[in-house]
Subunit: 201 residues, 2 copies
Amino acid sequence: MGDGDTEAAHEAIMQATYRALCEHGYADLTMKAIAEETGKSKATLHYYYDTKQDLLVAFLEYLLESFHEKVQLRDDENPAAQLTTILEKLVFGPDDYKEFQTAMLELRSQAPYSDAYRAQLRANNEELTALLAGIIERGIEDGVFQDVDPNRTASYLLSTIDGARTRWIVLDDDDVLTTVNEELQDYLAERVLVDGQEQIE
Amino acid sequence: MGDGDTEAAHEAIMQATYRALCEHGYADLTMKAIAEETGKSKATLHYYYDTKQDLLVAFLEYLLESFHEKVQLRDDENPAAQLTTILEKLVFGPDDYKEFQTAMLELRSQAPYSDAYRAQLRANNEELTALLAGIIERGIEDGVFQDVDPNRTASYLLSTIDGARTRWIVLDDDDVLTTVNEELQDYLAERVLVDGQEQIE
């Protein structure tokens, strides 16, 4: 999609997909339901996306772009502050609506059956891992982080956050995000930062 | 189920459910498919379980019991060794067959739509949390663990493991379990054990 009109249509469809996922969940999501949210016809939707799966792959890509826009990192910012901010955003949001996260968990559980979902989820994950590992590398270079393995640490942090969010949805446990975030901050202070908590404050 | 015959039937149905989940996944699992695995009729299956959901709730309970049997803790064992062993079993198994874990992730993603699934998954989680928190408490009493919050630490450990297992399935990432397990062991050494690595060895 290139010109302004097409971009606007893309944005409208992505936002409609978000709302339709919240309302219907993944299993009951139809092209018709998304079309109704856009106010466009189902035929218009199919002009852009052949199948529901194509549309949802585009939606996963859109989520990644939205995340990047929301966590614009400033180069002059302290890597410790950057890491803390980004982890908090990953734990608590940016899309911490339960209905939406419930639908996303369903979609993710279908990745083993869908090459297209899995490929896009892997691409999203690689970008996130690279983003975190990049911050960690810069922190090590600047001497404010300990000499940890950036990729291993990134994978560990993302696993912990993924687990907390999954448990929040599966167990309907509202405390788990706060609990894990507190422990993650302590982990960073002791395992990653050179001078512990002082770096963040 | 009380007498020997009923217990044997229960065990046979649970094992058949395991195999049927591996073979068909969650979405395509039917009572017929499970009956075929047991060699019993579908009517026999319905004699024990009214619905597929009833059967799967019993199966979740069975998984917890199996886990308890596999990780029989000895009271005279070092809490550090106990914790290391149990975390490794949680990361890598006891049921680390991809097909099975794929089906389990689908089932778990349905918990927000099923009070019965969610109630049983919460009960399983409470028992696991209590098991870990109990080991941590004993470690603190024995003076081999630092003065951490047992429940918070247990919730954090379980989140990290849950996330690693979810990413293993969703991203088809075979390295993530090993990577996260290594980092978890380092976390234990630095954040939980009093004398770090020495306790485990």
